[in-house]
Amino acid sequence: MRKLIIILSLTLVLTGCFNYRDVNRVVFVTAVFIDIDENNNPILYTEAYKSVALSGEAAGGDSRILLKGTGDTIFEASRHLNDTSGLKLNYTQNKAIIFSEKASKYGLNEFIDVFFRDQELLARQFLYTTNIDLEELMKIELQEEMFLGIYLSDLTENKPAQTRQPLIRIDEYFITRKLGSKIVPISFIEKKEGVIMPRITTHKLAIFNEDKFINVLDYDESFYYTLLIDKLTIGYTTVPHPNIKDALITLEIANTNLSQDIKYDGNTIYYTKKVKLQTTIAEVQKTFNISYLKDQKALEKSAEENIKKNLIDLYEKYKEQDIDIYNLQKDIDIKYPNADIDSDNIFDSVNFSIEVDVSVQGSTDVIDFY
């Protein structure tokens, strides 16, 4: 009995204070929105879940609560949020941290520390940035999901939607923001244009350099960027028909394999990215006979040239702005940590090339099954 009392006492000491809290006596935050005011002080919004008792019903219902708080720091703002909430806010179910464009340009390092430091906030939250006014974004009513945070979380698990976005979780961000040229891509939320009901999408990428938002990649650039940083799981690419002018062929990517070859001769770094794609024919305009080896090779060559051109174009576009978009610096630092190159002007010392190898392995009507 004495041993039991000692064990229980030790456990009380080790586990800290009594932390019992009923699940229905808590407001669960599902998304956090961060903006800044004219003095660059943070404005914190939260979208939260609260269960409510319904009269005459055995089970209660769901309610969505939107709260706003301000302060000198995010922590202070979060405490001010609690001032207007009847029950304590709980961040264990938070799915998304969304920064306004203004806050993103100001710099994420001003706000993000508390999200990693506080134990209640988990490492599995995804980061987003948006050009939509945050209050307007919170007011968008999605038909299938009441909570924007959960909708975004579902969207990240929707594989076809992921093809043009890397999934950056807060823990991953904290690592990559310090590596190499400190370029980090974050999913970009924008309104979907030309749709019947208001929709939002995350098919573009916002590029951050040293925690500051610099630019948004367009739809195609996002795809090629994702492909080159080896984040692509599934996707497709459309290439010109090798035999028929103005016709297109869509190739569905079944598998990707990325490797890099880095060599240093004392003066120059020779950096080669090797992209291997296994694809199947998803759609053909006009006609195409895969049985003809010559046609197949022509198609593969066409795809390779198309992909290579886009990858190089993206690299060159940002090279002109002195931005190492593919974060070559990171791989070079790993392989040649003592290489005598100017990290502020990496492009003078790096000879970058891309090799693309596309193989067309058949047709989707043979490979797919339902």
Binding site: L4, I7, L8, T11, L12, L14, T15, F18, N19, Y20, R21, D22, V23, N24, V26, F28, T30, Y49, S51, V52, A53, L54, A58, A59, G60, G61, D62, N90, T92, Q93, K95, E120, L122, I150
Partner: protein, 470 residues
Amino acid sequence: MSKVSKVWINYIKETLKNNISIVYREIEVKEGTINIIFDSASCDRVHVSDFIISPILNSNKHINNLETAKKEIIEAASIIDLDCKEDTINHILSGDIIIIFDFLNKAISCDSSCFANRSIEIPPTESVIKGPRAGFNEALADSISLIRKRIKDPNLKFESFNIGEKSNTKVILSYIEGNCPTQLIDYVKKKIKNVTTDYLIYINNIEEELKCKNTPFDTIGYTEKPDNIAIKLAEGRIAILVDGTPFVCYAPYFFIESFRTTDNYTTNKFMANIGSILRWGSFLLSVLAPGLYIALFTHHFNLVPYVFIFRVSASRAGVPFTMVIEVIIMIVFFQILREAGVRLPQPIGPTLSIVGALILGESAVQSGLTSHATVLIVAFTSIASFLVPAISTAIFIWNMLILILSSLLGLPGFYIGFILLCSHLAGLTSCGYPYLYPLGTFKDFKYKDIILTGELDKVNQYIFIEEDDK
């Protein structure tokens, strides 16, 4: 009447006065008077008339000595000479007939007992799908007969003890010499002799003496089925039969046996093994589920997917009690239902259980006193515990303990509860053998069916004797 006979008869009359069933019968023969005394409630009266009284009256032989009477006249199966008058009382109350030969100054006792007994029936507590259905009844002779029918081994022993100062209840110790370790036999005998009670009515007095103290786990096994006892005896265990009790207890009893049924060895082994896995799973579930539920939904929201968190939160909206009180109320509620189902007459019990589970459960949710999730957890836990009835009491007590620890400390409390349970189990013994045996040992235990049953011919029967010793 001789002086000796008079003293004996007066002693019996004085001791057994106010007993309507005691019959005193005098028979006159050529040599003198014979007094016959028996308890009509526990004797076979036809047997007394046809095989005791009638042969004496119709005999032409002279009863010059006791041997003539015993060997040539009385037709009883068993005759015992009585040397002192005090012995007569026990014999009369045991259903024997006392015959006092006035002219010889001698007395004998003849077996003619015929107690009211239940016939051999299917035991209600241990139903089987396939396998022997006979169950023990309250008669020792029948029980011994049922065991002997299955094991015709001369080494099968039935040793008798009389326990209970006043009830003089017969207790039989059964074992197979050679299979059962002698130290086990000595240990059980010593323990049985330690039982000090005036009236031994139930077998529990002996069980209490043998089992571990301060634990809700039964460290002594019991069964109503003779085939089970036959297997246990063959394995080298010791069985204890008590007159008037249809349950036979045996020792040592191991924890893993709680998960075994006769069907493990008699039905399709694949299905039987699925049943075993279900019973093990149910045990863990019924002990741990309420504690884990409380720990996760009151301390560790971060470990639960949002879908569950939101559903449970919505389900509990408006419930006035905290979750731990709500769970305890529902557990007590289910225990009340269970108790009522057991106590009520057979036809009403199941009806009440269904009414209780369906209507009262739903009403409790509708009235806002509890949530669907809690009802589901508690109901599932309670039903799961019924899969292992041998330890259902222990399950109830330990799931409450783990529940309380979890509500106080969250998952650390839950882990502590589970570790305490494991250490408690590891600390128990059954007649000197570890209760958890063979779990927790690397020794090649002779059980080959610890959790799953394989080939039956590879399941070693002698669990205490090494192969080399056989």
